[in-house]
Structure formats: structure tokens, C-alpha cells
Point group: C2
């Protein structure tokens, strides 16, 4: 097993029969979906229902035979998702996969959030390794560039096959390079108050636990309180 | 002239030749568009270009012959828009017309914002007369009801012809009744940090001046500093 897969398998330990599980998006989350599908097939787990966080995730879950329910009807007992950066305090950057908004909606409505990553995602400070994805409405999106620069970012409009990438919600994404984010909470608040900037990949104070996969083991990090 | 029209006409005094003007949405703003079009026809103003804040506003401006430019290319020198509530400190509730997101993007990118209203829109405290429109993404929108209730609101999904009303950006709107909003800044911040809640009709600290139309006069309110 590779480190991502190892972390994904370990997350099964946090599931119980009958739970509603938020299903993350991205390569590590996909290992989890596959592990979950196997556990449902071989009877290790029963009566699990998933809440998808993106259309690709929804398609994969259907292929794997994981029963799905709507977030509106069932709040997840636990969400299992990957991350692009994890700090020792379990603050995260997510959304390089382009699904940050749905992922965040599901995470904010889950009783618990467990992060599965390989060890390369550990950082001491957010914004050192990964750009921060920021989702913006298409209308007037160009004016957000100077706003994002005023926050210390170097924003680049994400492209896909020579066109701007469009999210499930019809928005654009600016990938914002920081030279380390000094005050993530202040950045989160500034983004929140800006019209036309929908959300960012900052997930602060949401994850309860991170399972870090290595070649030979999984380490568990819990929130410092 | 009725009070709305009177306020709209008075806003022309704040325009100068060559300006880029943010064009608001709603019945009072439409009086302003018509007054502006007349001023351009009779030569009182020249070389004004407008930035529309909604598709209906864009259509009307084209019909009236007001030249339009894109926000991305031209930041407005001034935006003239209506409001549903105005406090003595010039904080606003807007967006009953359903265009709050574009209106707010344009307002945040304008050098000045001038509000035109009739006297019925004056309130001592926000959320006493008008519901607060809150724009939410369609995905999982039902879960935002309990969130909005936790903020003291009684939210009602806005409908249009027996279906949920859909904004220019493809979102839904919950009209939120408050029994007066105690702390608008705290409410604005809480909404900003919530994933899936795009924005609200709170416009705090943005308007510089309000022109209040009465049957026989226009009163001017400037921001208390």
C-alpha cells in the first residue's frame, strides 16, 4: 500500500454501522471510497450511506455501489476527506481538486471531520507548500485580482484546456500563492466580507483528526485544544 | 414627481462629464437611469458610461441608450442605487430585487456610493422593516435554514411563480425576517464565514450619501464619521 492508501484504510476505524459519511474529493479520498466499498461488500461495515462533495465523487461512489443520500436529508456523522496542507493545529488548505465549496458545506454540516493525507502535506504554516484556491463569481472576476494582491497573494486564474476552469457552481478559481499565510483567520474573514469572492480553501478549526500515511505506518494527529 | 423620482433626479448633481457610473437595480434606480438618459440626450451631461448591476438593469440601460462598459475595465467613479432600508449611519439592506451580489460587487469597486430612496426606507435599526435577503448556493441549501435561525432569523425561501427564485448567478435567496438586527457587523462576519452562504443584503460602511425623497423635497444624509 502507498501512503495515501494506508491513511485511507485507517479511516475505516472511525466508522460504525449505520453512519452517514461525507465523501471527500481527490486522489486520497478515492482510496477511501474504494476501501469503504470493499468493507461494505465483505460485511465489515453495514448500512453506511454517503454524502458526495462533488460530481466526480458522486459518479465514483455510484460505480462502487456506495448508497448515497442528500445532505439536506442527512447530516454526516463523519466526513473523511483529503487536504493539500495540514498544520499541527489541524488547519487546512483544500480545494486544489476544484471542489472546495461543496467540500466545505459538507464539512461544516458534519459532526466530525477526519483528514487523510500522505506525509508530504504536513506544513508548519499554511500557504508555504500549496497555493490557496479562491472561488470567485464570473461577473467582474478580474477586479478580484487587485483585492487578492492586497491580501498578500499572487493570484493566477486556474485554467483547464486553455479556458478558465469552471467549478460545479459555475464559478472561477484563482490559485493564490502566498509566501506563508501570516494570519489565516484574518484572511478568512477578509475573504468572507468580499462580495463576489465566494469562498477559499481555508478550513480552519474544522478537522478533528488527521491520519498521516507513511510508507510503513499511519500517524494520528488530534486537534490541540 | 413622486418621492423616488425626486431623489433620482437629485443624484444627477453628483455626476460629472466623463464619469463611469454604477447603475443600480430596482424601481428607484430605474428613475435614475431615465433621468440620466435624458441628461445625456439634452446635453446636460456628456460621455457618461454605465456599469450595470443586473441583467434587467443592463437591458433597460441599452433601451435608454446609456453606453455601457465592463466592471473589469472601468471602476465606477460613483454608483447610484436604491435600498430597502437606510440607517442614520448609512448602513443598508438591499437586494429585495434579487440582484444583491452584482450590486455589492459594483459598490465595493466604486469610488463613491450614493443611495436614492423615498422616506419610507429610513429606519433606526436594520431588519425592522424589511427582510434581509441572503443568497445561498443550491447545493444543500436546506441546511442553511437552521444556520440562519441560529443567527436570529426566520428564513423563507424566495419563490417566483411557484418555483424557487434563481439569481443571475444561479443561486437561491432566503428572505430573513429579524426582529431588528442587533449587531449587523457580527451578522455580516458570520455569514461571510459560512460555506454555501454567498452573501447577504447587508451593505455596511459603503454608502457615502443618501438622498431621501419626499413629496416636496429631497433631504441629504451624509455618513457620520
Amino acid at each position: 500500500m502507498n501512503p495515501k492508501q494506508r491513511a485511507a484504510e485507517a479511516a475505516l476505524d472511525y466508522l460504525q454501522d449505520g453512519m452517514v459519511v461525507g465523501l471527500g474529493t481527490g486522489s486520497t479520498a478515492e482510496y477511501f471510497h474504494k476501501a469503504l466499498a470493499r468493507a461494505l461488500t465483505d460485511g465489515r461495515l453495514r448500512d453506511i450511506r454517503g454524502v458526495p462533495t462533488s460530481r466526480p465523487c458522486e459518479r465514483l461512489a455510484r460505480q462502487l455501489g456506495i448508497p448515497l443520500v442528500r445532505l439536506a436529508d442527512h447530516r454526516p456523522d463523519v466526513t473523511v476527506d483529503g487536504a493539500d496542507e495540514v498544520t499541527p493545529g489541524l488547519d487546512l488548505i483544500k480545494g486544489l481538486g476544484g471542489a472546495l465549496l461543496w467540500e466545505k458545506i459538507v464539512a461544516q454540516n458534519s459532526a466530525r471531520m477526519i483528514i487523510i493525507v500522505d506525509a508530504s502535506k504536513r506544513v508548519d504554516r499554511l500557504g508555504t507548500r500549496s497555493p490557496l484556491p479562491v472561488e470567485v463569481v464570473q461577473y467582474g472576476h478580474e477586479v478580484q485580482v487587485s483585492f487578492l494582491r492586497s491580501l498578500g497573494a499572487e493570484p493566477v486564474l486556474r485554467r483547464f484546456e486553455d479556458r478558465p476552469f469552471v467549478t460545479d457552481e459555475g464559478n472561477f478559481i484563482y490559485d493564490c500563492r502566498f509566501n506563508g499565510i501570516e494570519n489565516p483567520a484574518a484572511l478568512d474573514a477578509a475573504i468572507g466580507l468580499r462580495a463576489g469572492v465566494i469562498d477559499s480553501g481555508l478550513f480552519l478549526g474544522m478537522a478533528e483528526r488527521a491520519l498521516i500515511g507513511y510508507d510503513d505506518r499511519v500517524e494520528t494527529m488530534s486537534r490541540r485544544s
